[in-house]
Amino acid sequence: MNAIVVVGAGQAGLQIAECLRRGGHSGPLTLLGEERWPPYQRPPLSKKYLGGAVADERLFFRPLDYLAKQEIEFRASTQVVAIDRANTRVLLANGEQLAYAGLALATGARPRMLPVPGAEHPAVCYLRGLEDAQGLLVKLAAAARVVVIGGGFIGLEVAATACAAGKTVTVIEASERLLARAVAPIVSQYFADLHRTQGVALQFGAQVTRLVPLAGGGLSVELNDGTALPADLVLVGVGGLPNQELAAQAGLTCANGIVVDEFARTSDPLIVAAGDCTSHINRRYPTPLRLESVQNAVDQAKIAAFSLLGLAQPYQDLPWFWSDQYDVKLQIAGLSQSHDTAVVRGAAVSGAFSVFYFAAGALVAVDSVNRPADHMLARKLLSAQRAVTPEQAADVNFDLKLLL
């Protein structure tokens, strides 16, 4: 018996299953998804999908018969309620039990709920899955006034889509700038200017204290400075939480995610985990990371699959991210939090520039705005840990390709 069960059929779960087959696992392979769809792409949900440009089936990664052809048994609408590690079985909500020789957890993350009175109102929306996006699409069409709580990626992408659809949009951000955890102030400023130019109102340093239903429908979003903003729709994007409960209840070590080592192994040698749900070790960084991104879902999933195949390979891929707002593409290579120096390549006023971040003289990350070639080059430079000086990075006439 060498059955492998994958819990979670998002991008990471699908990748684990496909890698297992490609890597030579010939035994039974079951992919369990809680949602009713086959594995699908999440990034377009806050972008093109919400703009109404994409039909549901265009989001699907693979046709169902493709999974069947690879002898991956995919089960939709299937909830796992417990992992019985002593007997190496997972228990399903329908009472069924699936035995495993190897288990992979790719349970993802969920939106952090807004912890204020009145937040359970139906006009308050979150965005994580296709069902959320379907609901949001309908509510957005009927709304005139949209308040977005949280100036992070999800909030700003929804704000951009809502604004492009002609809605009156206000973004409320608790800190003093947009995307504060992800980018340098110059990039935050660029996006603040971009949204304001498009007509979005931005409020910084603002805390939501409560949401009060309005007599004519909608809500009043009340802030700590006494402001009250009327809204037909409130989109909350205040971060995500890892879906670690299943693992924690089974006694696996969890700390802001399912804790895995650099080989994507949990504290149980038969169980690996990958994607948004993990707190993981990447050889590039000194401390554990929890990332919600396509890159981490795909690359860590491969590491997890390799471990189940007995081919342990350390996780050392470079993190990268992207965001589309209006016709602006932001691409991030590496993690910039440790930087002490930042230089700009190109001019922010031109709408196409990159910010190169250095820590102790070494390049650690690059944010690119409408400069996709800089991004791809940055990924290569960072992956190969090439020496780049701030002077070279800031000089648009210096060809960075020469450093590869």
Binding site: Q41, R58, F61, V294, W322, R371, M376
Partner: protein
């Protein structure tokens, strides 16, 4: 639905039908064409859906935007005059019978 031929670097042809309006990349991914990675999901952000389009077909394709042109500088197999990103090519009736060639690798 227009039929499109994808020829692998090893010379194996896979013919698939792609709905009009979908991109070549979407059709390839959904039909499990190996050799297209598309790690960004069609955002014109990663240069991993690189294809080579014979010159005779080039004029039937949508023109190349600056972002695509820039990204083609970053493909795993260096670009040629026939290079395009398949996420930027929407299928139309005019592409019936199109043959594209896949590079040896995408990453």
């Amino acid at each position: 639905m227009p039929k499109i031929n994808f020829v692998s670097a090893a010379g194996v042809t896979q013919t698939i039908e792609i709905p009009t309006g979908w991109t070549l990349m979407e059709g390839a991914i959904q039909n499990g064409v190996d050799g297209i990675t598309a790690e960004c999901g069609g955002g014109c952000a990663c240069a991993t859906c690189h294809v080579l389009v014979p010159a005779a077909w080039a004029e039937k394709l949508p023109p190349m935007a600056p972002a695509e042109n820039d990204l083609l500088e970053c493909t795993a197999v260096p670009r040629s005059p026939q290079s395009r990103l398949s996420c930027q090519i929407a299928v139309t009736g005019a592409l019936e019978g199109l043959t594209v060639h896949l590079p040896e690798r995408q990453t």
